[in-house]
């Protein structure tokens, strides 16, 4: 839902980089037509109504029984994920997450595929200057959305007569470490450039950290009207030259980011109405007897 709208927003960039975009679900053509018209989706939304393709791919969600959620067509949905092919049609990249709500933003996907860092002018960014090292952080998206992975690009520059130690160096070396977190912020593993033996070979390192805003923000009383969140970033390092090492250093920054709501599905209204109906009933439906949302 949100992902499909985001892809539309990144479509021109994806096309410019040589990619066509397709979405597949077991929705009917009518429902896809309605969604495409409301959200202005121009790329193909493909209807696999009997889940034949989803089954052939071996990714049908088998946790749902045929009798569950008939009106919403729950049975036959895929485990959500993305395949990317090169011009030869061979899969070059695929991405599946256990949680259905976790997926890469369009800008993040483009960064993974092309290495291109195209940062919107209004995306949050900061520069922090230390004695031997400087840190630039930029978010690839203007805003964070709940559970949609964006990418925080952290650029670490080292004074050119010095070096830093890479992860995996022996005890006694203070390895370079980047810590990203904050209330309601989840960071996944960072992608570090390849390092030489013991030390970072380059003095200008670009580290990508997938980040997302989590539902914890809703607990903090923001309700669905979430506003802003803060990403805490800390870089620990020890810079050395061939003769001596400086004291270990730490650069920190707090990056304030705007939050966006998820795109609410039309079906949610149906669901909210039903939920209100259930609340009025003295006894809730037994588990497994619900019909759809």
């Amino acid at each position: 839902m949100t992902q499909l709208v985001e892809l539309q927003q990144t479509l021109a960039d994806l096309h410019a980089n040589g990619y066509q975009v397709y979405a597949v679900s077991n929705d009917t053509v009518d429902r896809l037509a309605d969604f495409a018209a409301r959200q202005g989706i121009t790329y193909p939304l493909l209807s696999d109504e009997d889940s034949a393709v989803i089954r052939r791919y071996g990714i049908m969600n088998t946790l749902i029984r045929p009798d569950e959620g008939r009106s919403m067509r729950w049975y036959g949905i895929p485990y959500p994920g993305t395949y990317v092919t090169g011009p030869d049609g061979v899969i070059s990249h695929k991405s599946f997450h256990r949680h259905h709500a976790v997926r890469a933003s369009g800008a993040s996907l483009l960064h993974t595929l092309t290495g291109v860092v195209e940062v919107p002018d209004d995306a949050p960014a900061a520069h922090v200057e230390g004695d031997q090292v400087s840190l630039d952080v930029r978010l690839l998206d203007t805003r964070l959305r709940l559970e949609v992975l964006s990418t925080l690009v952290c650029r670490i520059r080292v004074r050119d007569d010095l070096h830093l130690y890479a992860p995996g160096s022996p005890d006694g070396f203070l390895v370079t470490a980047l810590t990203v977190g904050g209330t309601g912020i989840r960071a996944l593993d960072a992608s570090w450039p390849a390092a030489g033996r013991l030390r970072m070979e380059v003095l200008d390192l670009e580290v990508s950290v997938p980040v997302t805003a989590t539902s914890e923000l809703l607990r903090l009383g923001h309700g669905m009207e979430v506003g802003r969140a803060t990403i805490d970033i800390a870089l620990d390092y020890q810079a050395c030259n061939e003769d001596e090492c400086f004291l270990p250093g730490r650069l920190t920054h707090q990056l304030d980011v705007d939050l966006d709501l998820l795109v609410e599905p039309d079906g949610l209204e149906v669901y909210v109405e039903r939920l209100a109906g259930e609340a009025r009933r003295p006894v809730a439906l037994p588990e497994g007897e619900d019909e759809g949302l």
Binding site: Y22, R31, P44, I77, P80, V90, V272, D290
Partner: protein
């Protein structure tokens, strides 16, 4: 709408949705769930109608460009 302060609406990932956890659409797969064809193989053929009812063959339609194919749960819910 479910209450964001109600623990029962949060799943094992800490994700909140107004839909109770007992609902089928909130069941998440175990570790190692199937993710279909692997990197390095040709994307299996997809020939399906689009939102306008036109039949689209992904490999023909992409005309020699790369393809990003997103399998999603629904555009409706």
């Amino acid at each position: 709408m479910g209450d964001p302060d109600d623990e029962r609406y949060y799943d094992e990932f800490g994700f909140y949705s107004p839909m109770p956890l007992s609902r089928a659409a909130r069941r998440e797969p175990p570790e190692g769930f199937p993710t279909g064809p692997d990197v390095g193989v040709r994307l299996p053929d997809i020939r399906l109608p689009d939102q306008g009812g036109r039949l689209v063959d992904v490999h023909e339609h992409r005309e020699g460009r790369g393809a990003i194919v997103v399998f999603h749960r629904s555009a409706f819910w």
